[in-house]
């Protein structure tokens, strides 16, 4: 009898192990669990015989039976894990995507680089409370020249050779500065604007010159505006656009409509200021500026005894060329999608 119970346990151990390892899915495994360990299960059946054993043997047989029960639980759990892993692997066999393959980006329209640079410029100045003002591209001589202290035969007109249109003394504006005059004529200080747009000069076309190009003008008029404010504004602008590590250099300059006049350069990002082929001794000239000439304020209807102002002007093409590494200004007006789609 005793021999029988122990032998049955031995047999059951061997066959249970075999059957658990052979179970093909979760369902078979669950059925097996019930068949072995359930109320009417095989191990339960063996355990029932324990009562008939002598007390001395009962303890050892009981321990062996409990050990087997624990082992079977363990085998089932182990098999369950194996089956789960197999299920996952099987899914990847039937449903597999090559994740190393890079699809084409979603097709989108591309905005013009001058739109993008103007967006950056507008965002920087709008943080400083500037409004965008616009003016006509076909201008009169008063706003384009005379009101800006550039009378006929002034040498500055040589550098701003203009296109005249078939209408009384109207021309294509040679700079965005006439917007200064128009804005002062129609608004009282405080004034804080930028004025972007196309300008035209009779310049021969080459990689850095075109007869049509883009500028933006800035004008601030208020009580107590100083050159230090202009300097700070230029630094804020240039560092916002090109990066906080750039250095800014302010030099003397000359424009008929500002006094004093200054020029601003930013340290070259390629050589770090040491001097290279894309810069002038480590500096990139980015804008001309100055304190608005008292006569220009007067021409705009503003009393220079009570107000002062500063103005600045920069080439949007040039800023875009510097920022986006464009080496030929003519690309901006050549609507080649191979160029446009890079932005």
């Amino acid at each position: 009898m005793k021999q029988n119970v122990v032998g049955e346990l031995e047999q059951l151990r061997a066959s249970a192990r075999e059957r658990v390892d052979a179970a093909g899915d979760q369902k078979a495994l669950e059925d097996l669990r019930v068949g072995l360990l359930g109320k009417k299960g095989e191990l339960t059946g063996v355990l029932r015989q324990l009562g008939s054993l002598p007390a001395a043997e009962r303890a050892a047989a009981g321990a062996a039976a409990n050990q087997l029960k624990e082992d079977i639980f363990g085998w089932i759990a182990e098999r369950q894990g194996a089956l789960e892993a197999k299920r996952h692997t099987a899914l990847s066999d039937t449903e597999w995507v090559d994740m190393t393959f890079v699809p084409n980006p979603v097709r989108r329209g591309h905005l013009h680089p001058l739109t993008l640079i103007l967006r950056e410029v507008k965002a920087i100045f709008s943080r400083l409370g500037y409004e965008v003002a616009l003016g006509p591209e076909v201008e009169d001589e008063f706003h384009n020249f005379e009101a800006l202290n550039i009378p006929a035969e002034h040498p500055a007109r040589d550098t701003m050779d203009s296109f005249y249109v078939d209408a009384d003394s109207l021309l294509l504006r040679t700079h965005t500065s006439p917007v200064q005059i128009r804005y002062m004529q129609s608004h009282k200080p405080p004034i804080r604007i930028i004025a972007p747009g196309a300008v035209y000069r009779r310049d021969a076309t080459d990689p850095s010159h075109g007869s049509q190009f883009y500028q933006f003008e800035g004008l601030v008029v208020d009580h107590d505006i100083r050159l230090s404010d202009l300097k700070g504004t230029i630094e804020y602008f240039a560092r916002s656009l090109f990066g906080p590590d750039r250095r800014i250099r302010i030099v003397g300059d000359h424009f008929p409509f500002t006094e004093p006049s200054i020029g601003a350069a930013v340290s070259c990002g390629l050589c770090g200021g040491a001097g290279c082929r894309s810069c002038k001794a480590g500096w990139l000239e980015i804008l001309g500026a100055g304190m608005v000439h008292p006569q220009v304020l007067r021409n705009g209807g503003i009393d220079p005894d009570h107000y002062a102002g500063f103005a600045f002007g920069a080439g949007l093409d040039r800023l875009a060329m510097l920022k986006y590494n464009v080496n030929d200004i003519r690309l901006f007006l050549e609507p080649d999608v191979r160029f446009l789609r890079q932005f």
Binding site: G109, E137, T159, F163, H187, K231, R249, H254, L333
Partner: protein, 795 residues
């Protein structure tokens, strides 16, 4: 402007570090564009004198020169023919070095040639390669040429147009002195007694000549100028010619005043007449070219004819040449506008004209003529005998006042009044200090200063803008403007880029006659002409963005980039009347349909319409709508360039504000564009004026709605807009939305038949709609469409 450091050192102690000098000059507004170390690199070259010249037997190209360096006499073969006996020349001794080249004794055609005679370019002392460099006859024999020509550094400066006084070495020396607080050493002007001879010069055109100084010198000897002068001229980019001519150039490069020397004996009657040229009068210039003048050009003439174009170039007839004994030196102040106009019309800019057209001070000419006369006496012999000075309207000195507060307020930094006064003094201003005010009289050579701000600039740029702090204007933002900030163009760009259109910019300048005749219908028929175009194909302003975009499509197709979709937002130009040009902001779209023919183009028309409608929905425009364009039977008129069956006008409250449609296939093939093209153009100003639409939320439906489909087959050109109106009307208030599902033409339907499918959304706010009531509405619509359009309807 080229500045020789060796020359500059005569007037001011130049700081040792040339980069520091260049940097400070740049900060002060005189940009140093380049620093060039003179390329002088030789050893063992000395001064020698040519004692004899004889042919080299067997050679037609070379000759044999006997030269002496003092004690030694040697023979050298030379290929140059500009030598004569007695000339002093640079002689590279045997064993000497010119850059990497060793010079030794060589044998030419059996003759020993010891060393080499050198040209200026071989020594790096000039650009002249034509012959052996002829030295000053006083150059000591045997002297090392490096002693005679110390190596020089040349600064290339960009001088601003308001500062012609800086186009000379003294001017730059004064700037250096002001920047580094160093004393200036101006050359002295010896007093030479001459008799006033007003009869020598007559001014017939006083409006063109502000001052005329002349001086007659007799008994001069024309020869080469001394080595030091030649070296300085070469360093400043001017070729030495002869002592007299070199002196006039030297004085200009020293003091900024251009000069001219006439051979006095060549002047008819020994008289100078300053007048306007006669129309068609010709003059042969020093450059060997003959030019025809007009009566607006100023000339310096004798009693017979023009001997020079005033302030621009001298005449060949009266040029100083070897053998000239009497010279007339001219230093005048010409009216800048006249010089500028003549120089531009003749296409001739010279060292003189570029100075005069910027406006020189009339106070420069007298010292210049004195300085030149002294140099002539010293270097070419001769005696100054007569002088003349015609100066009817002397310069009136001005005084500018500025107070300390003003300087501080404009610059935003406190500059000690003493420092400000010192800066102005160093720059040549006569300064008086009174309490907190400065009274400054500009130096006579400065015409660019007249208002207090000019003084502030002088103080600021020398004080150093690098010492000005960086601040931002006080935060008194003009709030008024911020309210109206409306980034309408950005909204449009966002929609268009989202619809896969790329943004292009095309030129505003177009060909007046060669541009495609296609535009939105309200554009003026002809473009605004440019009076002074640079090119024939850029002689007008665009009246529409469409031709430029269509050309862009063709351009891209040629680059193997067919199927481009582009948009542009920009100005067009419409001439309203003789004095007014309207400049509306216009938005245009253009899509290339490379394949698929008519059907694909029709689909593209729908696609652009959808894009426009999407954009419109972002703006606060009242209802915009599309209307079939009605082409006149014969001439397409304002719809020129468009497809007669596939063009619609864009309406805003019944008014046409643009156009959308297919480009006429003939126009497309004329462009060389394969396939078809679809475009749209609309007055963007209307969208800007309306501003962006503010989204307005409605409550979500509380009861379920009912969705029904409806397919309508119609015959002929029935407007979908009319169809929708009937559906909307009959559907009543519970018909909330009508979606267009599909549009189809073709088999199995017959020609002219079109099938339109809609999905209708019914919805009530207060109850759940029943199937019965929706069915009744649908039936009403079906019956209505049948009755009104003869439509065949399936529900």
């Amino acid at each position: 402007m080229l500045i020789s450091l060796n020359w500059l050192k005569e007037y001011v102690d130049v700081p040792a570090e040339v980069n520091t000098l260049a940097n400070r000059l740049t900060l002060a507004g005189n940009e140093v564009e380049r620093i060039v170390e003179q390329d002088v690199d030789f050893e063992g070259v000395v001064v020698a004198e040519v004692q004899a010249l004889r042919p080299l037997p067997g050679s037609t190209k070379n000759q044999l020169a006997t030269v002496t360096t003092g004690p030694a006499v040697t023979e050298v073969v030379t290929g140059a023919w500009n030598l004569k006996v007695g000339d002093r020349v640079p002689y590279a001794l045997p064993g000497s070095r010119l850059k990497d080249r060793r010079i030794d004794t060589k044998t030419f055609l059996g003759v020993q040639s010891a060393g080499m005679l050198c040209s200026a370019i071989e020594l790096g002392l000039g650009e002249d390669a034509a012959g052996i460099m002829i030295l000053d006859p006083s150059a000591p024999l045997g002297m090392d040429l490096r002693t005679l020509y110390p190596r020089d550094t040349i600064l290339e400066l960009e001088i601003k147009s308001n500062r012609p006084d800086l186009l000379c070495h003294l001017g730059i020396a004064r700037e250096v002195g002001a920047i580094f607080n160093l004393p200036l050493r101006e050359p002295g002007l010896p007093k030479v007694r001459t008799s006033a001879a007003p009869e020598l010069v007559r001014i017939d055109a006083p409006d063109g000549c502000r001052r005329f100084n002349g001086r007659l010198l007799t008994g001069v000897t024309v020869a080469a100028s001394p080595a030091w002068m030649q070296a300085r001229l070469r360093a400043a980019g001017v070729r030495p010619i002869s002592n007299i001519v070199d002196i006039t150039n030297y004085v200009m490069l020293e003091s900024g005043q251009p000069m001219h020397a006439f051979d006095y004996r060549r002047l008819k009657d020994g008289r100078i007449v300053v007048r306007r040229a006669r129309d068609g009068e010709e003059i042969a210039g020093l450059d060997g070219k003959t030019r025809r003048l007009t009566s607006s050009d100023m000339v310096v003439a004798d009693t017979e004819r023009a001997q020079g174009i005033a302030g621009i170039i001298g005449g060949a007839d009266s040029a100083v040449q070897p053998g000239t004994t009497d010279i007339f030196l001219e230093a005048a102040t010409w009216e800048p506008r006249s010089i500028r106009r003549t120089a531009r019309l003749l296409g001739l800019r010279t060292e003189a004209s570029s100075r005069f057209e910027k406006g020189l001070s009339p106070e420069l000419s007298l010292p210049a003529v004195q300085r030149a006369a002294a140099l002539v006496a010293e270097l070419a012999g001769g005696t100054a005998t007569k002088s003349t000075d015609v100066y009817p309207g002397p310069l009136q000195p001005i005084t500018i006042e500025v107070d300390a507060d003003r300087i501080d307020r404009v610059l935003g930094v406190t500059v000690e009044l003493g420092e400000a006064a010192s800066i102005l003094g160093r720059l040549g201003f006569t300064v008086e200090r009174k309490d907190r005010r400065l009274r400054a009289r500009p130096p006579v050579f400065r015409l660019d200063c007249s208002i207090p701000e000019d003084l502030v600039e002088e103080v600021g740029r020398i004080y150093g803008y690098d010492r000005v702090p960086s601040t931002l204007p006080g935060a008194r933002t003009p709030v008024r403007d911020l309210y109206v900030r409306a980034e309408v163009d950005e909204t449009a760009r966002e929609v268009l880029a989202g619809h896969q259109l790329d943004e292009a910019l095309t030129s505003s300048l177009v060909s007046g006659s060669g541009t495609l005749a296609i535009a939105m219908p309200m554009a003026t028929p002809s473009p605004v002409a440019i009076k002074n175009p640079m090119a024939e194909n850029r002689d007008a302003l665009r009246r529409s963005l469409l031709p430029g975009l269509l050309e862009a499509l063709a351009f891209n197709a040629r680059q193997d980039q067919g199927g481009a979709h582009l948009f542009e937002l920009g100005s067009v130009f419409w001439k309203a009347d003789a004095n007014t040009v309207e400049q509306p902001q216009v938005l245009a779209l253009a899509a290339h349909v490379p394949a698929g023919g008519a059907d694909a183009a029709a689909a593209e028309v729908r696609s652009l319409q959808a894009t426009l409608a999407t954009m419109r929905d972002r703006f606060a425009l009242p209802v915009t709508d599309f209307k079939q364009a009605e082409f006149p039977s014969l001439n397409p008129g304002r719809f020129a360039g468009f497809h007669p069956g596939r063009t619609g006008e864009i309406l805003d409250g019944g008014e046409s504000i643009g156009i959308v449609g297919e480009v006429h296939p003939e126009v497309v093939s004329q462009l060389g564009l394969p396939g078809r093209a679809v475009v749209a153009e609309v007055l963007f100003d209307r969208f800007s004026a309306a501003g962006r639409r503010t989204p307005e939320a409605r409550p979500l439906p509380r009861f379920p709605g009912v969705r029904r489909d409806l397919t309508v087959v119609i015959q002929g050109k029935i407007a979908g807009r009319d169809l929708l109106q009937v559906i909307r009307q009959l559907g009543g208030y519970t018909l909330r939305e009508i979606y267009m599902v599909s549009e189809y033409q073709g088999p199995p339907m017959g020609a002219g038949a079109r099938s339109l499918s809609f999905r209708l959304q019914y919805q009530a706010d207060d109850r759940t709609l029943t199937n019965e009531e929706v069915s009744a509405l649908q039936q009403g619509i079906i019956d209505g469409l049948k009755a009104r359009f003869g439509a065949e309807v399936r529900s």
